[in-house]
Point group: C2
Chain length 330, copies 2
DNA sequence: CTGTTAGCGCCTTCAT
DNA sequence: ATGAAGGCGCTAACAG
């Protein structure tokens, strides 16, 4: 593997000149630049970025901490991150935490050992927030909750949930069940607020029997729906806090011979690609997943490079997408 | 940021001894080891891995080239890769090629510039295979096709497609349409072979009118199904070459008032998580996505570390999963 | 068992 | 505009 020394020898120049010709061409004669390029070609030179990074104490890579890359929503956020990182010349380390605090901590070592210049956190988890305060390196949250501190990107989860519940109420529903995420999950907490606010505004009493906590998986959504449907006075609508659980709920309802939305309306949250193609298609809240990742990545790299230190909470806009699963019965 | 020198000073030892105490504890006294540990603690030392990697000319990271991380199947393969990389102390760079040759080439620079020790390729693309031959660094294919060279991991795509078509034929179908991936895609080519072999064995003439080429997306599956269903003599079954297109096909069929599987059987390929929860649930071929990624990663790291240079094609077993979408009519 | 020394490949003063 | 020299932080000889 040829080094810059080989190029220098081949070109009859010093390594310093070669370095300059490659990195700051304007500081070098047109002629020498050509000589260097020829030499690079001749010895098939590729800079050793390990060395360059050591020298500059920068790695030009960012770490993305994702609770699970197999989750389509997070995968989309990650895709948004990658697109910006790519454009700005950074690589991305994939840190799949699998919701494990231990794994998360291990991955943070990548930054502390100089292998990454900063991190983008996709989990809204509190614990990490707390430690973040003490962190000496740049962190940006791409999927924040109300309590997430700046710099961060998020949507108005409570507001979006409120809109969805309002939508169901407007369609005439009074018994609206909800399939929440894990009780302590910040996104679930925020969305629960919106759900309850909508009920209250409509004068509908909150009924704990109409709340079940899933784990965001389709199976847990199916199980929750089954329980709701065995209730003596069963709900006429189910507001699920993500699309996967809603899809599971549709499956349960259909298996019991119920027609969605005629007998039971079901709504999701996120608008993953499968929402538009489920049977029936799923009414949901569209989150700008890629844009959230992209924005977070822009902010992070700006920080890393010492540009304007954005210290705000960016609230991107969501959108209620009405599809078949909540269409007004007729 | 404290360096090994700070630790050495704090402990009253040389940097070499500190390094040894940390990396090869057995070469050092119990007592000095304790002193070093205390000093590490005292100055809050974290090794600079940029420096270590330069010294050893190794990066302890692998690059995964994935056509699109938002694709659930590839996301699962990637998760399998990450789990092994994690276990063996490697980090993973996410190289999302978005099916672009240009992006792929750029990402390969990570290896050539010493930032990654090897690459795992998820695309079965021919072009890359060709270049691979000349590559000077370790490459392993995780989702190979028949033409993919070793070392690689794959399933028997033709065999699996054959099984699926046989399954439909056994259920009494004679007009079996197929929604293929892009015509030149190696996986599509392999699966087409199996489809045609099954027809031939059953004495069913191959009908080009029953073949449509999608792009693996749900939308393309829906469009293809629509075309099939407008045919004067329409098919009674559709064999889709992935689950997404099958889900799109279910949507089209249902929208036209057809019942699946009663009026039209539909099958997929991959067994992504949504296959089991679609309405109706989807008959498909289960590919061991995580295991494929994991195996490929094991092979790659073994190569990197100079262990047994596995130079074989690993064919993992698939499984036909029969669900509602192809249940025998009754 | 520990210390001294050298060098991985690059870039950046400091000279010229 | 170019060259010489030093050093980023670490570890692997080589001595002792």
């Amino acid at each position: 593997m040829s080094s810059i020394i080989d190029v220098a020898n081949a070109a009859g120049l010093s390594t310093a000149t070669v370095s300059r010709a490659l990195r700051t061409p304007e500081k070098v004669t047109e002629a020498t630049r050509a000589r260097v390029m020829a030499a690079v070609e001749a010895v098939d030179y590729r800079p050793n970025l390990l060395a360059r990074n050591l020298r500059s104490d920068r790695s030009f890579s960012v770490l993305v901490l994702v609770p699970g890359i197999a989750n389509p929503f997070f995968a989309n956020v990650t895709a948004g991150i990658e697109s910006i990182a790519w454009r700005r010349g950074y690589s991305v380390f994939l840190g799949d935490t699998r919701d494990s605090r231990d794994r998360e901590a291990h991955y943070e070592q990548l930054v502390e050992t100089r292998l990454a210049d900063g991190v983008i956190q996709l989990s809204p988890d509190y614990g990490f927030n707390a430690r973040q305060r003490a962190a000496s390196y740049p962190i940006v949250h791409a999927c924040g909750c109300e309590l997430t501190q700046a710099p961060s990107v998020r949507i108005d989860n409570a507001g979006a949930a409120r809109e969805m519940a309002d939508h169901l109420i407007a369609a005439g529903h009074r018994r609206i069940a909800t399939i929440s995420g894990p009780a302590a999950n910040p996104h679930a907490v925020d969305r629960m607020k919106g759900y309850r606010a909508a009920l209250e505004a409509a004068g509908i009493a909150f009924d704990p029997a109409l709340v079940r906590f899933g784990d965001w998986s389709m199976g847990s959504g199916a199980a929750a729906a089954n329980e709701f449907l065995m209730l003596p006075n069963r709900p006429t609508a189910i507001f699920s806090m993500n699309d996967e659980m809603a899809i599971g709920a549709i499956q349960s309802a259909t298996a019991r011979g119920l027609r969605v939305p005629h007998d039971l309306a079901i709504t999701g949250f996120d608008d993953i690609s499968f929402a538009a193609h489920s049977t029936p298609s799923l009414t949901t809240i569209a989150q700008p997943a890629e844009a959230m990742g992209a924005k977070a990545c822009e902010i992070l790299i700006d920080r890393i490079e010492g540009k304007a230190a954005d210290d705000t909470v960016h609230i991107l806009s969501h959108e209620l997408i009405v599809r078949q699963s909540s269409a007004t019965a007729n």
